[in-house]
């Protein structure tokens, strides 16, 4: 097994939080490919001339040793072990006639390529880490002198906006005045309801005014009450519920319920 490098302890701690699945890995390897890479390095040969067969054997031996030590291994490692065992058998057996599947040699070189690629990106990551980091190796201005922005407000408004605002204000005012002076009215509906209620209690001629007396508590209400009541009366006459008569112009208006609607129109 590789001797853990000083940083690997840190790695283990960090991984404890973020990558629990790898906590059980062996001596801080970053997965099976990383372990393979480490084993390959120990062959002390160029990755281009690596013996994948030897590598597979070493990996399998490593995994078996770990299992004997009852080390719990992440599934990734076992999958890789199984695959390498397969590859090993393919590499040892005579190659079957060329089929659809890639040959053992092709599989082996694909694995070697993956290892070289991981090695290359590791190297790149190392170079990136060695670059002069801002805030670690190089520094920006410690006390930036900000650009002072003098804000000068310029207001925009058009004559149209001005006139519209003025007209709206004044208009609201006079519209409001009209509604303020709106009088309380006795609606036709109110009159009709009142009359219908009263009709049932009567059986003789009565002046309309008598009926309306109780509504005329406020003098200002009188015109609206009279008008609405008269309209309602005429409507009920048309429906044959009331009879109405007036002896002369401006004389009191007499009403009488129609006992039998058939008599209507008299």
């Amino acid at each position: 097994m590789a001797n853990p490098l000083p940083f690997e302890e840190v790695e283990l701690n960090e991984r404890g939080e973020s990558e629990p699945a790898l906590l059980v890995d062996v001596d801080g390897f970053e997965g099976p490919l990383d372990l393979l890479l480490e084993l390959a390095r120990r062959q002390k040969v160029d990755l281009h001339r690596i013996s994948i067969l030897a590598l597979a054997e070493q990996y399998i031996a490593f995994i078996e040793a770990a299992r004997r030590m009852r080390l719990e291994l992440a599934a990734d490692y076992l999958v890789m072990a199984a695959w390498l065992a397969y590859l090993k058998s393919r590499l040892l057996l005579p190659e079957p006639p060329k089929g659809e599947e890639p040959s053992a040699e092709e599989l082996a070189s694909a694995l070697a390529l993956r290892l070289r690629r991981l090695e290359a990106i590791r190297e790149a990551a190392k170079k990136m880490g060695e670059r002069a980091w801002l805030g670690r190796d190089v520094f920006a201005r410690g006390a930036p002198e900000p650009v002072i922005v003098n804000r000068d407000a310029r207001y925009e408004a058009s004559l149209y906006d001005l006139l519209k605002a003025y007209a709206q204000q004044r208009q609201i005012k006079f519209n409001a005045r009209v509604s303020l002076h709106k009088r309380t009215v006795w609606s036709l509906l109110d009159a009709r309801e009142a009359l219908e209620r009263l009709v049932g209690h009567l059986n003789d001629w009565v002046t309309l005014d008598t009926y309306l007396m109780e509504y005329m508590v406020e003098p200002s209400m009188r015109p609206t009450v009279l008008a609405s009541a008269l309209s309602a009366t005429l409507e009920m006459v048309r429906e044959g519920k009331l009879t109405v008569r007036q002896d002369e112009a401006f004389a009191p208006v007499w009403v009488k319920p129609v006992a039998d609607p058939a008599e209507a129109g008299a």
């Binding site: 201005r141 650009v147 207001y155 925009e156 605002a165 007209a167 204000q169 609201i172």
Partner: protein, 242 residues
């Protein structure tokens, strides 16, 4: 030319080293001081710098040399509160300031108030409120004063002697009016569709006056008002339109 300058600076940077080998490279110490002063968030004292420079470095000399070196540049080494800091050259302060003209729209309340002042001037705040049917915030009048379109004219000869407001020549200029009487009257407002529906018979649009001379019912503003006025305008500049 440029190369020459580079060489010069470089030459300068390595000055001293061959003569006295045990004294740290003066140029290198200068470079370190430069970097320290640049990266520091606050000015550094001679002692602080000395503590960070190579053993035996002549801090005073380094600071003197740096001050001279940077004196003609766009960035100078200056003493602030007994410490040292790089600062942009004071004659270049203009490049670090930027004038931004912000286009702002008047709020509806301000627009309405302005319109009432325009038509009803000279008008008091209470009269504006009477027409609008709502209290006028100080901020609204401040904003309008800030625009330069309205001014305090005088004081109404009435209980409480309220201030009267009117429009300025800048108002006419902005709204493209020749004289204040060019504001459309009742018939024109109706004709242009600004007033809709039936206009009550007692409805009228006043004839505004923005004349410099006060009306008969106006008194001049007292001197004591000028100070609060100044204050108003200062505040108004800071306050942003709602």
């Amino acid at each position: 030319m440029q190369e020459e300058a580079s060489e010069m600076m470089e030459g300068e940077a390595h000055e001293g080293s061959p003569e006295v080998s045990h004294v740290p490279d003066h140029g290198e110490a200068m470079r370190i001081a430069e970097a320290l002063l640049f990266a520091s968030a606050a000015p550094l004292s001679t002692e602080e710098l000395g503590g960070r420079l190579p053993e035996g470095a002549d801090v005073e000399k380094i600071l003197l040399d740096l001050t001279e070196l940077y004196a003609p540049r766009g960035v100078n080494l200056v003493r602030v509160a007994g410490k040292w800091a790089f600062r942009t050259a004071s004659d270049l302060s203009f490049v670090l300031a930027r004038d931004v003209v912000e286009q702002r729209r008047l709020s509806r309340a301000a627009m309405e108030t302005l319109a009432i002042i325009a038509y009803h001037q000279p008008v008091t705040r209470a009269e504006i409120e009477e027409i609008r049917g709502v209290a006028t915030s100080k901020g609204t009048l401040d904003t309008l004063l800030e625009t330069g379109w309205i001014r305090l004219r005088g004081r109404r000869k009435a209980p409480g002697r309220p201030v009267t407001y009117g429009t300025t020549p800048a108002f006419l200029e902005h709204f493209g009016l020749d004289v204040i009487e060019d504001l459309p009257g009742l018939e024109e407002l109706k004709g242009a569709g600004f007033l809709e529906g039936r206009v009550p018979s007692d409805f009228s649009v006043p004839t505004p006056s923005d004349a410099e001379t006060l009306r008969e019912d106006e008194d001049p503003l007292e001197d004591d008002l000028l100070h609060p006025l100044d204050m108003h305008q200062t505040e108004a500049t800071e306050a942003t339109e709602e």
